[in-house]
Amino acid sequence: MPFSWKHQFFHIFLLLVSCRHIKTKTPGPTPPPLAPISPLPTADRSVVFKGESHTEKLEVLNPVSLTLECVWAGNHPKLPNITGFWKKDGEAIENSHLTVQLENDQYLIKRVFNIVNEESLGSYSCIFGNEAKVDFLLAAPHIAEVRDKPIVSYVGDSVVIPCKMEEPKPKPNTWKWYKDNGTAKEQIFAAGKLDRFEIKNENGYTKLTVHNLTEADSGLYYCGAVYAIATTMSHVKLKVISIQEPLKPFIAIMVEVIILVTAILLYERSQSKKNSTAGNDVNTDQSHIQVQEENSLEENSSMRQRKI
């Protein structure tokens, strides 16, 4: 998505707006109220475009009353009236059909949406007749993937699984951890110091430490970044194996080393035996000549050394 200043200002605006909202919230796993007690903060987003379609991504942190506006330049020939309507997640919204007039050589559709919880997030589209549309993708900040391959650890050992919300994305209110137990996601609570699980939360990241691993601990783990509007998840797979697994290649390679070393040394032994039996007589003559050479060489080198 191309970076735009409008997006950034909108972002900051939402952040400032949410600061006011946070003071009324209590920390802990209480679900955000469906019907807010105080009136929702408002925000708006306007897109001017030509052509057939356009996509806008919006990061939503807190419940907001969002006004979405689409302004379309139109196609030739430009009809004076055109039907426009809204869709959410691909399905038409009831009572959203209306006739749009051509004003200032443009068509304009506007609607207010109450974004209050996770269901309110998703894809909102404004549609001009059957010709053009804008998709607004509303989502809470996405967590960067921890690791695409599984984290490997050992029975009896401990493991640390991190989760981080990258800068410059807004930091979540808190973090939650879940484990996939086959059917559903089960939340992990790090109760006390004696517990096997340990959760350490800091503003931008969280760490789940699991002690005394067993093979049953293998599986998918989810870290959830909790925002007022929704919780975004990222997952990572944990694989717990026994120490036997790496032991097999270890022993295999050690055996290979022992075999090679023995083979090389035995080969050398056989070679030297061959040499000693073959050239015994020749050697004594040669050594005589060598001794002579050695003696004269000694004299030369000793003379040279005197010069140093």
Binding site: K149, V152, P246, F250, V257, Q290, Q292, N300, Q305
Partner: protein
């Protein structure tokens, strides 16, 4: 200074045959020594999370390992002087293997410093020195080529270990990977078993006059090297150049990312660098062996060092990704050339007999600049917020010693020629026949 290494060796090296198996063994040992510490960085992020430590604390594991590897040089030299290369390399392989095995059961970061860092580093030192030394005992005529081939082990093993480590990490996590890496490092023992002591046709009585002046040296370390002109030139040049040698490679990817290049393209730069490096090392060895270069191989080394310096000075001027690719290529050329010649020129200066002590002394003194180089460069980058000052600094750190080496070796060669003329005159007076034999040997490596 006795220029003829053959006479100080006392025998005629095979220059082939089993020597090539020894080169292969050295290839493995040298490769592991240089590549292993670098390849471990892949595990750091997970270990950092596991022990809840900062990144700099985990990066210390690499630094301790590198420091131990360099500091262990003299110890390694003493042992090689005493027992030969083979036992030391095999002990080294067992040490690294045991270190990684123990580390896989580690319960604290201190545990890792001790096992991976200290014991592992020493084990690698016991691999590096003997592997370099034994090449000098097997080769004389083809020695630059043998050295170039052996040093190619570093980029080759690094390119192998990098994806292997990634695979191990994905399959077994860090503990299992350390366990398996322990067994992989035991392959250094296989390399060691290849390092058969060279069969010297030596008389039963060792040369008395030689042993008198060198018996103490052979026992421990040959400190008389500090009076050796060539050794001192080498030492001074190397200490300065190592400040600027590794940093440009370490910062290549971050520099690329700083310029807005994405991670994969930045990683590709390192791959290009490694491939060029891999290719140029044996080529440099081969060139060093040619009749034209071999007698004046010190100039070749000085050229390689100066070339590196000029590359670093030019780097900031090269724009865009294409410029960086070009820089990665010329950096690979320069890095490979210097690496291939690094120990060959030392052997050339001090002779294979004293090489073991020389390399031990050199590595422990180089420990400082090797460890300080990247952090100083990092500090320069942080201070100015720009990479170009770091590249200028590294350029100077390499160009200055390059020029120094050119000049000093010009004088050194002159002096050596003079000494040789004098010694030749003396020899001709003593024995005709042995002189003819020596002359034919000397022709192959005129200094």
């Amino acid at each position: 200074m006795p220029p003829a290494a053959t006479t100080s060796l006392g025998y005629s090296p095979p220059d082939g045959g089993w020597g090539w198996a020894v080169v292969f063994g050295s290839f493995i040992s040298i490769g592991f020594s240089y590549a292993f510490p670098k390849s471990l960085t892949i595990y750091f992020k997970e270990i950092q999370e596991y022990f809840s430590v900062s990144y700099s604390e985990i990066a210390w594991v690499s630094s301790v390992m590198l420091a131990s590897m360099y500091a262990g040089g003299p110890v390694s030299s003493v042992l090689v002087n005493r027992y030969g290369s083979r036992p030391v390399v095999m002990v080294g392989g067992v040490m690294v293997g045991t270190a990684m095995l123990l580390a896989s059961f580690g319960t604290s970061i201190m545990h890792l410093y001790l096992c991976v860092g200290l014991i592992g580093g020493f084990g690698l030192a016991f691999n590096l020195q003997p592997a370099l030394t034994i090449i000098g005992t097997y080769f004389q005529v083809k020695r630059p080529l043998a050295n170039g081939l052996a040093m190619t082990g570093s980029p080759v093993i690094l390119s192998t270990l990098a994806p292997l480590n990634q695979f191990l990490f994905d399959s077994f996590g860090w503990r299992g990977s350390f366990l398996i890496l322990g067994s992989i490092c035991l392959n250094c023992c296989v390399a060691g078993s290849l390092m058969r002591p060279v069969t010297k046709v030596v008389p039963p009585k060792p040369a008395k006059s030689e042993s008198k002046s060198q018996s103490c040296a052979e026992r421990f370390i040959d400190f008389s090297l500090f009076k050796h002109r060539g050794f001192l030139i080498y030492l001074v040049g190397n200490v300065v150049l190592f400040f600027g040698f590794f940093a440009p490679v370490v910062f290549l990817a971050p520099y690329a990312k700083h310029q807005g290049i994405d991670e994969y393209s930045a990683a590709l730069l390192l791959t290009i660098f490694a491939l060029v490096d891999m290719f140029i090392r044996p080529v440099t060895g081969f060139l060093g062996n040619t009749k034209l270069v071999r007698p004046k191989i010190q100039y070749f080394f000085s050229f390689a060092v100066s070339y590196n310096g000029i590359c670093h000075l030019l780097c900031p001027l090269l724009p865009g990704y294409a410029g960086l690719v070009g820089y990665a290529v010329i950096l690979g050329l320069g890095f490979g050339m210097v690496s291939a010649l690094l120990f060959e020129v030392l052997m050339d200066l001090v002779g294979a007999h004293r090489f073991s002590s020389a390399v031990g002394l050199v590595t422990i003194i180089e420990c400082g600049p090797v460890l300080l180089g990247p952090p100083i460069s990092g500090a320069l980058v942080d201070a100015y917020g720009d990479y170009k000052y770091m590249y200028y600094a590294c350029g100077v750190f390499m160009l200055a010693p390059g020029i120094f080496l050119f000049v000093m070796h010009y004088f050194n060669y002159k002096k050596l020629e003079e000494e040789q003329r004098q010694s030749v005159a003396v020899e001709m007076r003593t024995s005709e026949e042995t002189v003819q034999l020596n002359m034919s040997q000397k022709h192959t490596h005129c200094w």
